[in-house]
């Protein structure tokens, strides 16, 4: 079953007098429970591709399908609903809402989804324990380390069991030990919950965890490698 399908995606940005091709006829298919790393130098198009898959950015042309639904032609409200129910996001930084505690951050998506309070509470506590943050439920982001914050973000991304998790440079602000812990958590979630992961990174250690490594350059996919994950 296909979790993500991109067909002939193109996206051009205007920068000063120059047109930058962020996506140049990209075709991509990710199977359900896949673990894919998008690797590219800065400006290579990996974040643009991730944003297009996540419905955060609309391509100039081409098609984007997520969980069997074409999303590139949906309205803002419909895209918001897709993101809410089908996709979990982990961003590089500013991942959490500062005025909410760790548990409230995890509950945020469920609350917007309309999940009952008791159900939210039990699920968020369970997932925080799963990502190793038991006891830190009432801390606000400013009271947690970068690694702990990213774990909360991961917990939020997966707590409502989305079919797809998109992570953009999730380890960029973390030390190597915390990065490894986070990636092991991703692998575990991928193995145990069949969650599909698409991770944009230029961190070699992160790439080593992926089952499939897609290299991009100047908005094009230049290599697509099946690999044995670390």
């Amino acid at each position: 079953m296909t979790a993500v399908r991109c067909i002939d995606l193109c996206k051009t940005y205007r920068q000063g007098d120059q047109d930058i091709k962020a996506l140049d006829h990209v075709d991509l298919e990710v199977e359900h429970s896949g673990f894919v790393c998008l690797s590219a130098p800065s400006g290579g198009g990996k974040t643009t591709l991730l944003n297009a898959i996540g419905g955060l950015d609309i391509p100039d042309s081409g098609e984007v399908w997520v969980a069997g639904q074409r999303i590139d032609q949906l309205s803002k409200g419909e895209l918001a609903a897709i993101r809410l129910t089908q996709i979990g996001f982990v961003f590089q930084a500013y991942n959490l809402i500062p005025v909410l505690t760790a548990q409230e951050n995890v509950e945020f998506v469920m609350q917007v989804q309309g999940v009952a309070a008791a159900d939210r509470r039990s699920k968020s506590q369970a997932i925080l324990e799963e990502v190793g943050l038991k006891g830190l439920e009432d801390r606000r982001p400013a009271e947690m380390s970068g690694g702990q914050q990213q774990r909360v973000a991961v917990a939020r991304a997966i707590v409502s069991r989305p079919a797809l998790v998109l992570a953009d440079e999730p380890t960029a602000n973390l030390d190597s030990k915390t990065s490894d812990e986070l990636m092991e958590l991703f692998v575990e979630l991928n193995n145990h919950h069949d969650t599909t992961f698409v991770i944009a990174t230029h961190d070699q250690r992160v790439m080593a965890y992926a089952k499939r490594l897609i290299k991009m350059l100047d908005g094009r996919i230049v290599e697509d490698i099946e690999q044995r994950a670390a």
């Binding site: 944003n51 996540g54 955060l56 950015d57 803002k76 409200g77 918001a80 609903a81 897709i82 993101r83 809410l84 129910t85 996001f89 961003f91 500013y94 991942n95 959490l96 809402i97 500062p98 005025v99 909410l100 409230e104 945020f108 998506v109 609350q111 917007v112 989804q113 309309g114 999940v115 939020r156």
Partner: protein, 409 residues
């Protein structure tokens, strides 16, 4: 419902994120609300006092006259019913506060001075139920009844005439045949009024004594009727019109004294303008606060949109934040206003500017009055205009593209 909870949680916590800015803005709204209510209560107190004084300075809430009396207030234009018939008609209909009086121009002469005055031939007991002027006796006594042969003068008039209680004066007017009608009276009392002009203008004598002097039998020139509330006179007006028949003119105080009637409308307009002007000054601070709050949270707003929150919820969040700020400020401002008005309920002595105030009919003691409608108006204006003022920053926040907002530096 689930959206409402998260919107309120986020709005409330974001409000206290930059607590210094919030406290400053709260202080501004509170002072603004206080100023709206406090100043309005002072103005309302002053105007209401002027209105009440004006109404109790003989008009009552509704008056009955001969149709030509207002153009020619002479003894030739008398009410069609006699005072006995008027008493029977109005009292029989359950109206308690009314008085039938003679009110004619006259000349009063002491042994030293003469002055033009308005002579009121009154039944003192009935008069007291409608009008205040003449009832505050500061020297001597009030009239005993409609057949009392004495007169009561204002203290200022007595000073001008260089007369006093116990001395005699002469009142001179015209009878219906345009013959001079005069009579000597003994000054039995002096009254004080809120306005010096009233003390100089009115002379009170017993109604029957004046009727005899003017040779008008049991006729009167004016019937004044008072209801419970000077603002609500329509029902009373209709009832008196029915009771008095079509031969006489029955008018409300707002038409009898257009200056007073206009003042009521002007005051209501003034309150609205005052409240809106203060709010406009406040709105700059409010909008600035919200714009800053939104600007500081661009990435977070982008994050919430990226996670699937609807733009309308972002809009709601900013508006709720603004409304919470306004409600808090209004609560504090209202409490401050009540706390500063209640200790002043015994009045503020403004006798230092009494003469200037008297020029437009105000007394020298200012009694602040909180009117429910003014308080509601001030609060509604702040809330509604505050809501409108917050729409622009809230709309901007809800229009962010998540991908641009998240990467905003």
């Amino acid at each position: 419902m689930h959206y409402v909870q998260i919107i309120f949680t986020l709005a409330w916590r974001n409000l206290w994120r930059n607590h210094r800015r919030t406290i400053i803005m709260l202080a501004a709204i509170s002072v603004g609300a206080w100023a709206m209510i406090f100043m309005t209560s002072l103005m309302r107190g002053m105007v209401n006092e002027m209105l009440r004084d004006g109404i109790r300075a003989l008009p009552g809430h509704v008056q009955v006259h001969h149709p030509d009396y207002r153009d020619d207030p002479s003894v030739g234009n008398l009410v069609s019913l006699t005072s006995a018939e008027i008493d029977a008609t109005l009292a029989g209909a359950g109206i308690e506060r009314f008085t039938a009086r003679i009110r004619v121009p006259a000349i009063i002469s002491s042994e030293r001075e003469s002055r033009g005055v308005t002579l009121i031939g009154a039944d003192p007991l009935r008069e007291k139920s409608v009008a205040a002027v003449g009832s505050e006796i500061v020297e001597g006594r009030n009239l005993d009844g409609p057949d009392d042969g004495g007169v009561v003068l204002g203290r200022k008039l007595a000073e001008k005439l260089e007369t006093q209680v116990g001395k005699r004066i002469v009142l001179m007017s015209q009878d219906p045949d345009n013959e001079v009608a005069d009579r000597g009276y003994r000054v039995v009392g002096l009254f004080e009024a809120n306005l010096a002009a009233h003390e100089e203008a009115f002379v009170f004598a017993g109604r029957e004594t004046v009727q005899k002097m003017l040779r008008i039998d049991d006729r009167v020139s004016e019937v004044a009727v008072a209801g419970d509330d000077y603002r609500v006179v329509d029902a009373l007006l209709a009832e008196v019109r029915v009771l008095m028949g079509k031969d006489d003119e029955v008018l409300p105080w707002t038409e009898l004294d257009e200056y007073l009637g206009t003042m009521l409308g002007v005051m209501d307009g003034f309150v609205l303008v005052w409240v809106v002007v203060i709010f406009l000054a406040l709105s700059f601070g409010l909008v600035n606060t919200l714009v800053m709050a939104v600007f500081e949270r661009v990435r977070e707003i982008g994050l919430m949109l990226a996670l699937g929150m609807r733009p309308s919820s972002i809009l709601g969040q900013i508006i709720v934040e603004s409304v919470l700020l306004l409600v808090l400020g209004l609560i504090i401002g209202n409490l401050l206003a009540f706390a500063s008005i209640i200790p002043l309920k015994d009045g503020i002595d403004i006798s230092i500017v009494a003469e200037g105030m008297e020029m437009f009919g105000a007394s020298s003691i200012l009694y602040p009055e909180i009117e429910k409608s003014d308080v509601i108006l001030a609060n509604i204006v702040v809330l509604v205009l505050g809501f409108i003022a917050s729409l622009s920053p809230a709309w901007q926040a809800s229009r962010y593209e998540p991908v641009e907002a998240i990467t905003k530096v």
